[in-house]
């Protein structure tokens, strides 16, 4: 499917995804801006991997770009994961601790 159609369809989904709030022009444009911000910043920041390996960077950017665009709209999913639920907070806290300590411990020793 054409990328433009994908983006167009995902924008149409915004209305349903944020139906809990009053739908205004501001809400939809904010959600679109947030969507574009998150995609662009993730892609730009992944360019920093060039300090490790250029080929790896190219592959990761292509993979990330494809993954991000095909999973649009991302922001509604992100909002759902970042609500005030203690369960979700605990889950991400433990996950972060596990990844952080494992990566530092084994990543450096090997």
């Amino acid at each position: 499917m054409d990328i433009y159609i994908l983006i167009h369809n995902s924008v149409q989904k915004f209305k349903n995804k944020i139906k809990k709030d009053t739908i205004t022009n501001e809400n939809v444009s904010s959600a679109m801006a947030a969507e574009l911000t998150i995609i662009s910043t993730i892609l730009i920041s992944s360019i920093m991997l060039r300090h490790i390996n250029v080929l790896l960077t190219v592959l990761i950017i292509l993979g990330l770009g494809l993954c991000l665009i095909t999973n649009m709209p991302l922001i509604s999913k992100l909002k759902k994961e970042q609500d005030d639920s203690l369960n979700k907070m605990m889950f991400y806290v433990i996950l972060t601790l596990a990844i952080l300590v494992s990566a530092i411990y084994w990543g450096v020793l090997k």
Partner: protein, 497 residues
């Protein structure tokens, strides 16, 4: 020895204890709080740079008589340079940061005194304990001492949330405490590992041992200690995954309480951040990890701020997102970037306090924080709205305000360090911050007033207008004359690295 240095911690603690004992004696509590709060910013100004050794326990090398009487087994080895007791170090950073912290503390107390008819000694106890805790953290050269005061600061923060009138304050405070029960002990465990390896919790001593190869700084214990301390740091400052609860914490307190909470968080961020840099910056991956979490904090917070509809929550997310800039400066790790990060920290402390108190006036008048239900308030509070607009510009980095100066320095440092991607992201996030701010400003002040919106006829307290005015003046002065603080910070960072 400089006797004024510990007074910056001791005076607020004594004031806190007295105010707590005074309880509900309203007029005495208000007077005493005001007097102590206005005196506090003077202490860092009149105090000279130097060290304070608690109990007079200076390193042996500073005491020639004692050193000469000791066996060569002690006097001729590095043990003689070690710090026996707790010591406070007061330099350019501490002077500037504590001055602005106490200014924000004074303005928060001044606003709190005037926005409430009755104020309890217990509430003032929490505020002064919070101030003294983060002051001790910034001054201390002892990481365990920092941890103790960090825990006190967290408890003070929870108390400040509970003193608000928000319906969800208990739930948010409880969640913060539960997450703290993970973050705090993890941090302490990290410090324990470090102590087990090095035999000291003094940061200067630890750094000395690493630099001179007295310990294996790539040993599993050392690496593990970094992981745990770093995790404790991201909990303490609200970087992901703690950004959600941190923004919730900010949004549940009173406006003056939120202003103070974020100021405490900024000082905690800088204190622990500098400790981590001093101990672990030789490890190759440390800067990358700091950059990763800072970027994640900026991106997640700003996108959440964009789609939020609660005014206080939006400012909370913006405040957390701005912390990411400080983290990026630390992560880049050059002299210029760390100086810029410290400057950004000072600016954020001031700007976010301005926004919390400025937007607090809206909630005070309407009792509503949902921006979809607000509108047309510029006719009710024109002066405040203009000052808040300028404060928002400062946060977004619009010249010639202070936020512009620090962000420009950060962008320059990223370019100099061969990280153009970071420079682009910082510009992008500044633009989105600007957009978010304009969105809430339009929603609250400019769009037509909803028919069902009831605005109280009482005026916004003059204290709030005065507070926002003073903070705005600081923003403009630091924007026009950044060298007032940057010179001192540059000297401090030069001695740090």
């Amino acid at each position: 020895m400089n006797e004024l240095i510990p007074l910056m911690v001791i005076i607020p603690i004594i004031a806190a204890l007295i105010l707590n004992a005074l309880g509900r004696k309203n007029s005495i509590v208000k007077t005493l709080s005001f007097v102590v709060a206005i005196l506090l910013p003077l202490i860092p100004i009149i105090s000279n740079y130097g060290f304070h050794y608690f109990g007079g326990h200076s390193p042996l090398i500073d005491n020639e008589n004692l050193l000469s009487s000791l066996p060569s087994l002690i006097s001729n080895v590095s043990l003689s340079t070690f710090h026996i007791g707790i010591n406070y170090s007061f330099e350019g950073l501490q002077k500037i940061l504590l001055f602005f912290l106490f200014i924000v503390g004074f303005l928060a107390i001044f606003t709190a005194i005037n926005e409430r008819k009755r104020i309890s000694g217990q509430y003032m106890f929490l505020i002064f304990m919070g101030l003294s805790s983060v002051t001790a953290m910034l001054l201390s050269d002892d990481i365990f001492h920092m941890y103790i005061f960090f825990e006190i600061a967290i408890i003070s923060q929870v108390g400040i949330i509970l003193s608000s009138n928000d319906n969800q304050k208990y739930e948010t405070a409880m969640k913060y405490m539960i997450l703290g029960s993970i973050g705090g002990p993890i941090l302490l465990t990290g410090i324990g590992f470090l102590l087990a390896l090095v035999g000291s919790v003094n940061i200067t001593d630890i750094t000395y041992m690493i630099k001179n190869g007295l310990i294996d700084s790539y040993s599993p214990v050392f690496l593990f200690s970094f992981g745990l301390i770093f995790f404790g740091w991201i909990y303490s400052v609200g970087l992901p995954p703690f950004h959600t609860i941190k923004s919730a914490v900010y949004s549940k307190a009173t406006p003056s309480g939120s202003a103070l909470l974020q100021a405490l968080s900024v000082v905690i961020f800088i204190s622990f951040g500098l400790a981590i840099l001093r101990i672990y910056s030789h490890l190759p991956f440390v800067h990358g990890i700091i950059i990763f979490f800072s970027l994640a904090g900026m991106i997640l917070s700003i996108t959440m701020a964009l789609i939020e509809t609660d005014l206080r929550r939006i400012i909370g997310f913006l405040a957390v997102g701005e912390l990411g800039y400080i983290g990026l400066g630390f992560g880049i790790g050059t002299n210029l970037s760390i100086t810029a990060a410290l400057f950004q920290g000072i600016n954020e402390l001031i700007i976010t306090a301005l926004l919390f108190i400025g937007f607090g006036a809206i909630i005070q008048l309407t009792k509503i924080s949902n921006i979809t239900k607000l509108g047309g308030l510029i006719e009710n509070i024109p002066k405040m709205s203009i000052m808040v607009l300028l404060g928002g510009f400062a946060m977004a980095g619009v010249p010639p305000l202070n936020g512009f100066q620090s962000k420009l320095m950060l962008i320059q440092s990223a370019l100099n360090a061969n990280f153009p991607e970071l420079a682009i992201i910082m510009i992008l996030i500044s633009i989105v911050t600007f957009m978010t701010f304009i969105k809430i400003f339009h929603a609250a002040y400019l769009k037509p007033k909803p028919k069902d919106l009831i605005v109280e006829k009482s005026l916004v307290p003059r204290s709030a207008i005065f507070t926002v005015g003073v903070l705005l003046i600081i923003c403009i002065v630091l924007g026009l004359m950044p060298d007032l603080v940057v010179k001192e910070l540059t000297t401090f960072v030069g001695g740090l690295i």
